[in-house]
Amino acid sequence: MSTPFAAAVLSSSVLSGTSLLYATLGELVGERAGIVNLGLEGIMLIGAAMGFAVTAYAGNPYVGVAAAGFACLAANLIFGFIVIERRANQLAAGLTLMFFGFGASALIGRPFIGTVISGLPRMRVPGLGAFDALVWLAVPTSLLLWWLLFRTRWGLALRAVGEDPAAAFAAGQKPDLLQFQALAVAGLLGGIGGAHLSVGLTQTWDEGMTAGRGFIAIALVIFAKWNPLWAVAGALVFGGAEALQLQLQARGADVSPFLMTMVPYVLTLLVLLFWGWNRRSAAPAALGRNFFGVE
């Protein structure tokens, strides 16, 4: 009754890589507009808690995921206000958002710990596994984002703001508005990524359940060279590393579990080591800087 090893690893990587992919895509859009959001971990946690809570309350997992997306959109807009309107340092504000996310998610999720929900229904692919709607939509979402960023005027304006907001402003664009829009999209996707963990994968909620995935997503944006198509590869690689170590242990491989647990993180470090340097030049030039306008 056991699945062939390669198929098991692939299916497991896709499942665990999906939430990473959504979070990476969200962060990518924000960074393309010049805003780095270190609070992605907090956003994902709010998404997971909100998704679980609303699913438990409403009985419908899709409603839960939508609620998670919108809650995180709102949270990201607050972050946007702090960083765009008030011109706070993005890194500090992001970390603050992360802590806020820890607390807010714990508060939202607390009454629902231990509740049993019926999560996102999965469709079986014979020979591979069963996948829910968010998994099926992950690659189309990255394609859509690629098209939005690189084939539409909106995307062009957004990227211009990320490269040189003064030039964009001079060309008649509104950098503030575009950055808010980018953060809204980022929040929506980050929330969906978080919700997939609680409503899609585990059907439970526990404090801090993202376990660092938000930060992995931030690293994956660099690995992806700020391109949504490469983000798919990155999420698969990281999801695959985690899946591989668990499947190897499950198979009875006689390797220290501590070394195995390190594999995904060591892989991320290696990837950043070998490709991170080249990637630096691919970053949006004004990433992390505040635009003060011409007044």
Binding site: T202, L246, Q249
Partner: protein, 254 residues
């Protein structure tokens, strides 16, 4: 053990001349949340039973205390706690350090081995219960592969796994236990992936030693595998078809 605890509480209640109001403040720290359907819930329920059974007990609790925090326990001592329950294995060193600093406070640690005049340990002989659970698994398995999701590979966990394996082998010499270590007492996403991986690799009976059995049980049930629960008997409602047997803790007087 329960009798010792009860008499220790009573002794402290009536033996301390400074406790003019005849009250005892008891502090308890948990590594997770108390409504986790598992380990921490069992500890919390036991302490609630103690509070109900012993008059004059005030219970201070702190959840999600990481395994290196002396601050929470120190805070409880400031509030007058004279008996501290450090309920997670990893709290041992911090609790022991504080025991040396506060000789007038009694520390009870779950699952450890360190000893001092005011520091003691308690736990349950879980290995003895895992053996017959292993027998059940060994008898029911058709693939001869048993899956075990372990949180942190400390002594009690390894002992439980070994007892489980010995029990299974006693009725089914071909049974093999595959262990996946998630590295944390409570990482739901990893537990779900680990349980899935064990079933992918052929396990048809899945069990666990993590803080809460809920995730592993749900995954086993959705994949049609048998499951054996640990930490909580109530969790059997999560696996109505696949639950074979299980073990829960009742720390308080029932």
């Amino acid at each position: 053990m329960k009798r010792f605890l009860l008499s220790a509480c009573l002794l402290l209640c009536f033996g301390l001349p400074a406790a003019a109001a005849d009250t005892l403040t008891v502090g308890a720290i948990y590594v997770g949340t108390t409504n986790d359907y598992g380990y921490n819930r069992a500890m919390h329920d036991g302490l609630e039973a103690m509070k109900a059974a012993v008059p004059g007990v005030t219970l201070l609790e702190a959840e999600n205390v990481p395994e290196t925090a002396e601050a929470d326990m120190e805070g409880m001592i400031q509030q007058g706690a004279k008996l501290i329950f450090a309920t997670s294995f990893g709290h041992q060193q911090s609790a022991f350090n504080l025991a040396k600093k506060h000789p007038d406070v009694v520390f009870e640690h779950a699952g450890g081995w360190m000893q001092a005049p005011n520091f003691g340990n308690f736990f349950a002989a879980t290995q003895a219960a895992w053996y017959p659970m292993g027998v059940a698994a060994g008898a029911m398995t058709k693939s001869n592969t048993l899956g075990f999701v372990a949180g942190v590979p400390i002594g009690y966990v390894i002992g439980n796994i070994n007892a489980f394996a010995l029990g299974a082998r006693s009725v089914n010499p071909k049974a093999e236990v595959h262990v996946v270590v998630t590295g944390s007492w409570s990482d739901k996403a990893k537990e779900a992936a680990a349980a899935g991986a064990l079933i992918d690799q052929g396990a048809d009976v899945v069990t666990m030693h993590v803080d809460s059995p809920a995730t592993v049980l749900q995954v086993a049930e959705s994949r049609g595998a048998y499951s054996i629960g640990f930490q909580s008997i109530e969790a059997r409602t999560l696996a109505p078809k696949g639950w074979l047997t299980g073990l829960g803790f009742t720390w308080g007087h029932s």
